[in-house]
């Protein structure tokens, strides 16, 4: 009783109370559905439901490992998602620092708006646009032909170009939106630091290097850590809408492969098996990087 009393009297009690709805929602929609994971170890029979279906052990995983396609699909996934991860760290930071240096407000605003608009378009729409632009009769090939006299390249049908196109188009679409967080972090840096540095005779670049970047380092570390979670998700919408049979070699990623073989082929168990593995790897990567971030940068969230 005394303990409870103390809890109620705790000054932070009402803050904790505010966590309750989140806690309920999270349990309902995130923790509870986790039981579906057992599907990865079962042979699903609809009438018996997920829990009633018979266990099959590691059968689905064995099938996955036996399938020679899995390895090149995994390789594609890693190449594309690492490519996206790195570009999505560098480009938005770069863009944020540049925007931060801009003194003319309306230029800054309009650049920001323009770069951040594509985020709101779905890949279904953008895929149509990219297909047109990149087709043999598209704008890019027209320029290549007229200006450089080069032969038309079938970009989306080329195994050489497909991955770069996925990475570049993803940067184009998302960079503006990711910049927002860095810009916010930059505003939190104490202006006095810049003034002091200026008085000490620091150049613009030196100010950027010694104040701005260290100032947002923690945010960079945080976002990098979090983004590792998605290392095995290369972006289904984008790839599914843009790939074709010619680029399965380089463009087929886990999600598209599972979609074709798992969902379309009604193999829900296998889809679950892959999803489960993805989550496990994502979780352990986060744990590792988080520990590293703590050890080397002395940074922690909790």
């Amino acid at each position: 009783m005394g303990r409870l009393n103390r809890l109620f009297k705790n000054e932070q009690f009402h803050y904790h109370l505010m966590l309750l709805p989140i806690f309920v929602l999270f349990t309902l929609f995130h923790v509870f559905p986790l039981y579906g994971i057992v599907l990865a170890f079962k042979s699903f029979i609809p009438t018996k439901g997920i829990l009633g279906s018979p266990w099959v052990g590691m059968m689905h995983y064995r099938f996955l490992l036996e399938n020679p396609e899995v390895w090149h699909v995994l390789r594609n996934t890693l190449l594309i998602s690492v490519g996206k991860l790195i570009t999505m760290l560098i480009v938005p930071i770069f863009l944020a620092l540049m925007l931060n240096e801009l003194r003319i407000q309306w230029v800054k605003r309009s650049v920001q708006v323009i770069t951040y608009l594509p985020h709101f378009l779905s890949w279904v729409i953008l895929a149509g646009v990219f297909k047109d632009i990149l087709s043999a009769q598209g704008v890019i090939n027209m320029i290549l032909e007229r200006v450089f006299g080069a032969e038309a390249i079938s970009f989306l049908g080329s195994n050489f170009w497909f991955r770069p196109i996925m990475i570049i188009s993803n940067v184009w679409k998302e960079m503006g939106f990711s910049t927002v967080i860095y810009l916010a972090a930059l505003t939190s840096i104490n202006p006095a630091l810049y003034e002091a540095a200026e008085i000490d005779g620091a150049s613009r670049f030196q100010r950027l290097w010694h104040i701005s970047i260290p100032g947002i380092a923690i945010v960079i570390a945080l976002l990098a850590t979090l983004s590792l979670n998605g290392i095995l998700y290369a972006g289904f919408d984008q790839i599914y809408n843009l790939y074709n049979v010619l680029v399965y070699d380089t463009g087929d990623v886990i999600e598209t492969w599972v979609f074709r073989n798992g969902l379309v082929g009604a193999q829900y168990e296998m889809g679950t098996a892959v999803g489960f593995i993805n989550s496990l790897i994502g979780l352990s990567l986060i744990a590792i990087t988080y520990t590293l971030a703590y050890r080397f940068a002395n940074y922690r969230i909790f």
């Binding site: 699903f44 029979i45 609809p46 009438t47 018996k48 439901g49 099938f63 399938n67 020679p68 396609e69 297909k131 087709s135 043999a136 079938s154 989306l156 049908g157 074709n244 049979v245 010619l246 399965y248 070699d249 074709r260 073989n261 379309v264 082929g265 009604a266 193999q267 829900y268 296998m270």
Partner: protein, 582 residues
């Protein structure tokens, strides 16, 4: 994908019209096989249940029977519905209510295409079935029979043996009997019949070649008869500027990325012409079931296609184009040939015909030996099934009886209604169809029989009296008017070329039809066939596009076997063996 579904629904619509025109042999006695099944099941069923009840195949329920159903709405057709006619509430639903006192209650509906397909497939996974529904494969990855098997294994559907034996009409039994009751056997597992199999016009599904006749005429070319002719015509269409705009912007043959699936702008017939059957299980000379896609016969047609690609007779980026984009090519008059089905006059060629008054399409058969080779899926690709536990399973049989009768124009009021609507709203407006799951049965060559009758009439060899009510409707409404006044009405013209060009070409061809040797699935098949089909499409596409030499086919075949093909072939043969030994 969407467009392909629109194409499919056109077929469905068309087949309703079609089945309206077969012979109705009401006097024909019930065949012996039919009676046999009846006696057989009589021994199975306890005699007590059969005593008192008066069995009427078309019996109306005393109290309105509410049947829980699902359906897909086609937004395109919906535009053509007459006022006050919706899927949920229309004359056709009322007709069923009046005849059988059956009332559909919508469980859910979704726009046809991906949305419907996903919901439909999920409904099995969640064991949330409507009372009566048409079981069919929407993704072509598994056959309807293997879907049925799954449902039976999971104890989700009702045994219909007794209901069929008691309630099936003579007409229905006659149609099944015309194909030796093979369709019924197909729906039977362990001696119990779990679904009412569809059976209808089948041979007309043979693929044909549509050619721009006006281009042929302009360039003074003969109609193609062989594969070589096809290539030559394609070459002329590319080089000789058939559209006369002075630019070399035409391609010979329209082709889409999924060219291995029978739809339209595919290439399956080119393979078939060489007796290669890339997407089917076939029996080899020793009687063993093998996958057609890895047989040496495939090499020759691949070489032909690769040659065509190299010459620029195909679109250089065809592998990136889906049905929508190839349709666009046809519409804009960039392509002069496409391989497809008899109904392609209505889709996708319709857009070209509407846009270009000169565009004149004709259909031809081509092969290497004067015979039209094809593997067809067993005539039954869907079943009418009843959810386990539904109290009135015989309703499904009654529905089949009635829908078969309707589709053979046995009800004057349905015909009168059509005439009434035509005169009031014109041909473009229709009642919404009934949403009660149903399909009418027919013979395997129903349409081909009809076409020959039409031809005889046009040739003066016979008269319209020989036609059934349904046939007469088609003849009088579209064929005759267009024959007398060619192309005056675009809609009639499209019907006319569908019938008198495409179906006629098939009716006069020497047909060599094999049934797909295996329609079910096996464990490894389920697990790996998807990837293997991907692999096959990929290998074929690369060979055709010249990214790999023709010998790459041998490498592909080796990989195919190693990646599970060998195991699947073995399992398939075991399954076929156990099926035939039963």
């Amino acid at each position: 994908m969407k467009m392909r579904n629109a194409g499919l629904s056109t077929v469905l619509l068309a087949s309703v019209v079609l089945s309206a025109c077969s012979n109705s042999d009401e006097n024909k006695p019930v065949n012996s096989a039919g009676t046999e099944t009846q006696t057989e099941s009589a021994t199975n069923t306890p005699a007590a249940t059969e005593t008192t009840e008066a069995v009427d195949p078309f019996g109306k329920y005393a109290e309105t029977l509410e049947v829980n159903i699902v359906f897909d709405r086609n937004p395109e057709s919906e535009k053509g519905f007459i006022e006050n006619s919706t899927y949920e509430n229309n004359w056709n639903n009322d007709f069923w209510l009046e005849k059988l006192n059956i009332k559909p209650v919508v469980k859910w509906s979704a726009p046809s295409g991906d949305q419907f397909n996903q919901k439909y497939n999920l409904m099995f996974a969640s064991n949330d079935l409507p009372d009566i529904f048409v079981l069919r494969s929407l993704d072509n990855k598994q056959s309807a029979r293997s879907m049925l098997k799954r449902l039976v294994d999971s104890d989700m559907v009702e045994d219909l043996t007794d209901a069929y034996n008691k309630y099936a009409s003579d007409e229905v039994k006659d149609y099944y009997g015309s194909f030796d009751n093979k369709a019924l056997d197909y729906a039977t597992m362990d001696g119990k019949m779990y679904g009412l199999p569809a059976q209808g016009d089948t041979y007309s599904n043979a693929q044909i070649l549509w050619v721009r006749q006006d281009w042929l005429d302009k360039l003074g070319l003969q109609a193609p008869k062989t594969v070589d002719d096809l290539v030559n015509v394609a070459r002329a269409f590319k080089d000789q500027d058939p559209d006369g705009n002075g630019k070399p912007d035409t391609i010979g043959l329209a082709l889409q990325n999924q060219f291995m699936d029978n739809s339209f702008t595919d290439a399956v017939s080119i393979f078939n012409a060489f007796s290669a059957f890339p997407k089917s299980w076939i029996k080899d000379s020793s009687g063993k079931v093998v996958w057609g896609g890895v047989q040496p016969e495939v090499k020759k047609p691949l070489e032909v296609l690769a040659g065509m690609f190299k010459e620029g007779l195909l679109d250089p980026e065809f592998a990136l184009h889906d049905g929508n984009q190839t349709t666009e090519q046809l519409t804009s008059g960039k392509a002069g040939m496409q391989i497809g089905s008899w109904w392609n006059g209505s889709y996708p060629l319709t857009f070209n015909i509407d846009q270009d008054s000169k565009a004149d399409w004709k259909a031809y058969i081509f092969s290497t030996d004067d015979t039209l080779h094809a593997v067809m899926d067993f005539p039954t690709t869907q079943f009418l099934v009843v959810k386990k536990g539904f109290a009135n399973p015989e309703a499904a049989v009654k529905i089949l009886n009635l829908s078969t009768s309707i589709s053979h124009s046995k009800f004057q009021e349905t015909l009168d209604r059509r005439t009434e609507l035509d005169s009031k709203y014109g041909r473009d407006k229709v009642d919404a169809p009934t949403i009660i799951p149903n399909f009418g049965l027919g013979y395997l060559d129903t349409t081909l029989q009809s076409v020959k009758k039409f031809e005889d009439i046009f040739a003066g060899k016979s008269t319209v009296d020989t036609l059934t009510v349904g046939e007469a409707t088609i003849f009088n409404n579209s064929l005759k008017p267009n024959h007398d006044n060619p192309r005056k009405d675009a809609g009639k013209y499209k019907d006319y070329i569908n019938w008198m060009s495409a179906l006629s070409a098939i009716a006069h061809a020497k047909l060599d039809i094999q049934w797909n040797a295996f329609n079910g699935s096996t464990p490894t098949y389920d697990a790996k066939m998807g990837s293997l089909n991907d692999k096959q499409l990929q290998a074929y596409t690369k060979i055709i596009m010249g990214k790999e030499p023709i010998d790459y086919f041998d490498t592909f075949v080796k990989e195919w076997h190693a990646m599970g093909g060998e195991q699947i072939t073995k399992e398939v043969n075991d399954a076929v063996a156990s099926e035939s030994s039963k």
